[in-house]
Amino acid sequence: MGDKGTIFNIQRFSIHDGPGIRTTVFLKGCPLKCAWCANPESQSPNPQLLVRNIKCRSCGKCVSACPRGALTWSRNTGRQIHWERCNQCLHCVEACSFQSLNISGYEASIDTVLAEVEKDGVFYKNSGGGVTLSGGEPLFQKDFVVSLAKRIKEKGLHVALDTCGFVPAGHYDAILPYIDLILYDIKILDPQMHKRYSGSDNRLILDNAHHLAGLTQMWFRIPVIAGFNDSDDQIRETARIAKNIGVKKISLLPYHEGGKSKCEQIGVVYKFSEGLIPEDSWMQHLANIIQEFGVDTSIGY
């Protein structure tokens, strides 16, 4: 158990997910369903169809390959996908010659992932980097990610865990011995708002933060969305918590609409039309607030 996991990307030269040059392993599956999610394909724990219409050359091979008639083609509309008929059998992906139909997510063994993250070991050494386990929520595949973290740690590499915090506290206890840094998402402090936009309230998240901050190094990360969670009060309060529990740094990540096109590609409705990109000057203003608390901050990473 735990020898294989489902991941959807291994990103080398990751420079925004912790210190130094890193490799980030993105695991599939998440307990939250944040409306602004930049990687909506990370939410489902299973491999799924990802469509890039721009690459379609209208060859029609996928239409014949689909056993459920979920793909159709006509001169007027071009290739269309009817998601309600799709059962993710993924036969169409095999038929496509143009990388227009792709699978997001694949099963990988620990050895495979390990081999990939070790490739940039020499870069980690020279830049103070390492491996970041991200998602989705990495602990959604607890057994796999704990074993993986253990094996990476055994190689002497720096390991960061990028977590949403909505995880039973005991899960963290299992992985903590192999973790050097936790990147901890604080999305919004108001519990009702949190529930409305992510599907769950944030009490567990805040409790876990208090619990974990004393046990390992922790940085907060805030996806800053204009008019939503970017008020002075919100940031001040988060900075205060950070200072109280010993969080060294807060990363301010300006919201972007990357999730929107990905939702279309996986046949999901993007439910965050009100999301706004914050101004650079406002981001700097928020960074200044955080610095007043004596907490480090950075914008964009």
């Binding site: 990103q11 080398r12 030269f13 990751s14 420079i15 925004h16 130094g20 040059i21 050359r57 060859c59 010659s97 143009f98 990388q99 490739k119 940039d120 020499v122 870069f123 050494k125 020279n126 830049s127 103070g128 980097g129 950075s298």
Partner: protein, 799 residues
């Protein structure tokens, strides 16, 4: 004497050549090869020819010396109002050097067409026609064409597989020795040798005597040339009303009286001495790509001046800025065909910084930093800066180089001692000499002071060799057997079979290229001896032999520029995966699709594109990269230069990866007919590296520098990679490049949006500089197609 920088920068004369040809076809010729105001200077040609007319029948080496003496004696000289370091290879600041003794045809062609009608007025045209009349049958290109017969004459004509050209011939004087003894010391040495051979009468007595006499004529001519400046400055000073200006001119006069004849005592004298030697050899023989270990040579002069309070750091910086403007004045006329290879180039003068001394210790000094400050403040095309990186390179120096890179000028480029020192030793260079290597031109490696008149014997277009291998050496349209008959692709069972056929084609074409080269080298030795330059190298005076009659014993010398290696690699990797492993298509089917330039077969092209590609740290593709690089190098090494040293390939493809791709039809990597090749030998194909910059380095590191020396790697990053705390990441990335023993890397630090905007609104970006190959160029001087090929390079930025 302090002047604001914008005043210094306003003196810059831009002589970059625009690429008006692609292969043998015109491209944007109506723009003209040079910016408005640039003129062809006929004075060198005039006085050279005048002397040649007088010396008919004399030994060639003496004729050369007398001709150069005549030029140095009679060419108009000038001192501009802002100069403190003087000297020029032309009679006017906006003049272009031109070697009528090399080739007069292409210049005549340039001035009569769109490319360069404005370069000469009618009087000039008339004079050029008269001068050319003399050189008919006598210029180097005439003599070459007379010498070629049979098979060689057939392959001499450019068809798209290889090109022999007068590509470049470089070398670095022994400045340390020259500064120590002055030209006077060299004259004494030469006179001593003359006296010695009079006593000994060696078997080659006459040749030695003629050579040594020519050396004396040349050295004395250069001293007199400097004295002409001293006298002009004195004259101008006596007429000057402004006391500051008078002091400046008197300083020039005193300096030029002293150097290069005597050893320099100050930084100013050292720089002036250097510049006379620099342009002297340039006037003697049309070359490009001059180099010098600048901080090693000039650092001690600055330190001494500084210690004695003779100069402040700011004053030293200003001297360098003034020298930078002078570097910029050295422009060359290129043939239209060469403009396609050297798009955006001026004359490829390079400055080497850092590295180690003869004991292996880091040589970084204050001059290293002053040079980088000069580079950052001036942002000129010339000189390009190369940093020799080694384990002991200080962090502060790396940080400083990043400040220069951040401006986007494309330099410094980085050369890795960890890769280069073992390579040089393998070439037979003793360790002590190897530790002194310096960069000339874009990426050439040389040993200062050694008799290395390095030449590139043109370019070999490797994807075209592969294309011949897929067609049994027969052109599919004309039916002509142009390459060697290799086996029928029907019988190929693996990518290795394809590789072997490709290597057979490389061997076939390279044999012809080498025959042409060795013939030409013999002609150069006979008709273009270089007595002045010979005096600046170790061993020529001692042997009584011109630098072209012998050479430093190592294989550092000649090489062939190889173009498109990555496209061959990606092609073979795609064939291996799609044809032989997955069997989705047969090789003959693929070849017939290539012959149609993929038309109607986008699915096949997509499959070939999706196969493993070099630059992604993918062992399937990278193993093929190793086989192609190592195999190609081994074939080249089967051939020798005329002194018996094996030949090798080199990654200095300049813009030929664009210009020389025109005549290579579609290739199995998914490339269309005529599409540019990957931009350098170690670079992935544009946009085909998907795993980020660390994976690119990991792929490149698999190719053994010592075995291949294919050393040019371009990377493109957005400017924010060199800002705030990301600078430490970048330093870590660079250190890792060092640890991976990759020989070279250079960067374009510019975002795509800026480049696209510069294409749409060139008037808004007249000074935007980009890295093309081993050199930087003004973006707006490049043709649209070459601009596109730079924009298409993968920009490494990640989340």
């Amino acid at each position: 004497m302090k002047k604001p920088l914008h005043n210094i920068k306003s003196k810059l004369v831009i002589k970059a050549v625009r690429n008006v040809r692609r292969g043998d076809q015109a491209e944007e010729a109506q723009r003209g090869m040079y910016r408005p105001g640039i003129k062809l200077d006929l004075q060198r040609s005039r006085y050279l020819t005048e002397s040649y007319r007088r010396t008919d029948g004399m030994p060639m080496v003496l004729r050369r010396a007398l001709a150069i003496e005549n030029v140095l004696k009679n060419m108009d000289i000038y001192i501009q109002k802002w100069e403190r370091i003087v000297g020029s290879s032309c009679s006017i600041p906006e003049g272009l050097y031109f070697g009528i003794d090399m080739n007069w045809r292409s210049v005549k062609r340039i001035i009569s067409g769109h490319e360069g009608r404005g370069l000469l007025d009618d009087t000039g045209r008339k004079e050029l026609a008269e001068l050319a009349e003399y050189w008919k049958g006598k210029s180097m290109s005439d003599r070459q064409q007379e010498m070629f017969t049979g098979d060689i004459l057939k392959y001499w004509k450019y068809e798209g597989t290889f090109i022999w050209t007068h590509w470049s011939e470089l070398g670095i004087p022994n400045y340390e020795k020259i500064f120590k003894v002055g030209l006077r010391g060299l004259i004494d040495e030469t006179e001593g040798r003359l006296a010695a051979i009079d006593r000994e009468v060696p078997a080659d007595y006459i040749e030695q005597k003629e050579f040594l006499q020519s050396v004396l004529i040349s050295l004395r001519a250069l001293i007199s040339f400097a004295r002409r400046y001293a006298s002009l400055a004195r004259d101008m000073a006596s007429r000057s009303e402004d006391p500051a200006d008078r002091r400046r001119l008197e300083e020039i006069s005193t300096t030029c009286e002293r150097v290069p004849e005597h050893p320099p005592r100050t930084l100013l004298e050292a720089l002036q001495s250097f510049f006379f030697i620099h342009i002297g050899r340039y006037i003697e023989y049309s070359t490009l790509g001059i180099g010098v270990r600048f901080d090693k040579i000039f650092g001690p002069y600055y330190d001494a001046d500084s210690k004695e309070d003779r100069i402040t750091r700011d004053e030293a910086l200003e001297l360098l800025q003034l020298l930078w403007v002078k570097f910029q004045e050295l422009g060359l006329v290129y043939s239209p065909m060469l403009s396609g290879i050297y798009g955006g180039v001026e004359s490829l003068q390079a400055i080497t910084l850092g590295g180690v001394d003869e004991h292996g210790q880091d040589i970084t000094n204050e001059m290293t930093y002053i040079v980088l400050d000069a580079a950052r403040s001036m942002q000129t095309l010339e000189p390009s800066i190369a940093l020799r990186y080694h384990d002991g390179t200080p962090d502060t120096l790396l940080q400083k180089t990043m400040e220069v890179l951040h401006t986007g000028v494309g330099y410094p480029s980085f050369f890795n001692d960890r890769a280069m020192l073992p390579t040089l030793e393998k070439w037979g260079v003793p360790r002590q000499d190897a530790r002194d290597y310096a960069i000339t031109g874009c990426v050439y490696i040389e040993i200062p002071g050694k008799n290395i008149s390095r030449r590139a014997l043109g370019g070999l277009i490797l994807p075209k060799c592969l294309w011949w291998a897929l067609h049994r050496g027969v052109h599919p349209v004309t039916g002509v057997q142009w390459g060697v008959p290799t086996p029928d692709p029907v019988d190929f069972a693996s990518s290795e079979d394809v590789l072997n056929a490709y290597l057979d084609q490389v061997r076939f074409f390279f044999r012809r290229q080498c025959t042409i080269e060795n013939t030409c080298r013999e002609l150069y030795a006979k008709y273009l001896p270089r007595p002045l330059y010979s005096a600046f190298l170790d061993g020529c005076i001692e042997r009584g032999k011109d630098c072209r009659q012998w050479c430093y014993d190592s294989m550092v010398h000649d090489f062939c520029v190889i173009i498109g290696t990555t496209n061959v690699v990606d092609s073979l990797a795609a064939i291996q995966r799609v044809v032989f492993e997955k069997k989705k298509i047969t090789l003959p089917e693929l070849i017939s699709i290539l012959d149609k330039n993929w038309e109607g077969h986008e699915d096949a092209r997509s499959m070939m594109l999706a196969a493993p590609k070099y630059g992604n740290d993918d062992d399937a593709a990278d193993a093929i990269a190793v086989a192609v690089h190592h195999g190609t190098s081994a074939v080249l090494a089967e051939f020798s230069d005329r002194f018996g040293h094996p030949l090798r390939g080199d990654g200095s493809g300049v813009s030929a990866t664009y210009g020389m791709a025109l005549h290579t039809p579609a290739t199995p990597d998914g490339r269309y007919d005529g599409e540019p090749f990957a931009d350098a030998t170690l670079s992935p194909s544009q946009g085909r590296d998907h795993k980020g910059p660390t994976a690119v380095l990991k792929s490149a590191a698999k190719i053994d520098t010592v075995k291949t020396f294919n050393h040019l790697l371009n990377q493109k990053f957005p400017p924010d990679m060199l800002e705030s705390d990301k600078k430490d990441l970048f330093a870590g990335y660079l250190r890792t490049w060092g640890d991976l023993d990759i020989s070279h890397i250079q960067f374009n630090i510019v975002d795509r949006a800026t480049l696209l905007d510069a294409q749409r609104h060139p008037e808004k970006h007249p000074d935007l500089i980009v890295r093309v190959a081993g050199y930087s160029a003004y973006f707006v001087d490049l043709s649209r197609g070459l601009q596109d090929s730079i924009i298409a390079r993968t920009e490494q930025s990640f989340t």
